[in-house]
Subunit: 218 residues, 2 copies
């Protein structure tokens, strides 16, 4: 049995040690910070997680997930991202509202629920933030996302996420006719300021370099 608190620690450790390939170990303070607890509390939990075989660390040493621990963490992330997708696609939640509720839903225990939810959503590959959703085997199809600013002229790409989640930016994005999965064609670029001409649904717009740098595409 994995408690909700334990699940949160495993998930945080996964993000600290597997999101960036160069960084495969974490520290107590860092972990405590991410979970909004004191280092003492994190240290305490770490002992339990080690005891259960989900985390490997030695006193004053670096922390990492064991294979078992990683499997659990990925399963939680899978659930989190499937729920986010559900909230966004079916229940009219916005990009910035999904996370908080998914934090709760990710702890629901039911294998069938996750399988059926995934099927109901038609096996989505990315969540509303553009992050990959692990499949049932725990495999994560890593997606090399770029910012729109990096896309070459005359190429077409798909919007998968935004970096800036402020509602003012989101409103602007919507005004451009953009939404998740929108196809964007890069018509041209002005070198002196980096601004771009784009086409979305046959509508042409001009956007600043800054805006382009906040749009993540595949």
């Amino acid at each position: 049995m994995v408690s909700q608190a334990e699940e949160n620690y495993l998930k945080a450790l996964f993000h600290l040690t597997s999101d960036i390939p160069e960084k495969t170990e974490a520290g107590t303070n860092e972990l405590a910070d991410m979970l909004d607890v004191t280092p003492a509390t994190a240290n305490n939990m770490l002992k339990k997680l080690k005891e259960k075989g989900w985390v490997s660390y030695e006193k004053y040493g670096k922390i990492s997930l064991t294979d078992k621990g990683r499997v659990l963490a990925v399963e939680i992330i899978r659930k989190h991202r499937l729920w986010e997708t559900f909230l966004y696609e079916k229940l009219n939640f916005t990009w910035d509202e999904v996370h908080e509720v998914a934090e709760q839903l990710e702890h629901i225990q039911s294998v069938k629920l996750v399988q059926q939810l995934e099927k109901f959503l038609d096996f989505p590959e990315i969540d509303p933030h553009g992050d990959p959703i692990p499949n049932e085997k725990g495999e994560i199809r890593f997606i090399k996302r770029k910012t729109l600013a990096e896309i070459e002229e005359s190429k077409t790409c798909k919007l998968v996420a935004v970096k800036d989640n402020s509602s003012s930016f989101l409103q602007y994005v919507v005004k451009l006719g953009l939404g998740l999965s929108s196809k964007i064609k890069v018509l041209g670029r002005r070198e002196f300021d980096g601004s771009m001409e784009i086409e979305v649904n046959k509508v042409r717009s001009s956007i600043s370099k800054k805006v382009a740098q906040n749009l993540l595409v595949v």
Copy 2:
């Protein structure tokens, strides 16, 4: 803030004191029984719930919900039944599988989630067990359900629930061509054994009195 444990007590008290009009008070042992805890534990929690103003009781006296407590309980039941409906209608769960998962989902805190879920399900009035779903104001549209055995000859009714949730009974029900919301026409009744002739989707069947008494209809 209401903890999950507290929510479970409120819900149990609602069922003990409001499901049957004649019974408006509960006892410690009864409550403990329903929640699968010891009477000592229930007694302990009761003090906290009284403290918070959700339950009224005096030492060695009977227990009942206050108006505040009832509002909370109804909201939990509303969530439970909406989730059951979601699992049944959208995620291919069977009648007997929905309850366990809904027990977890009912504790998710998000007003928007409940509102949107209700809308997504098109404002259902009854859950897969035929129980009424309270609306957002907490109003419960009580439905006077009857067993099929009570329906007069030549009348047509709608199946809303089964009393016996065993999978063997459910399988038999399915074999009769019945599902939730199926229309059943009572063709006739044999008085000597109470068995009935019914018609479902133009198919006639004969069922025993016992079976008819386990089918709840509106």
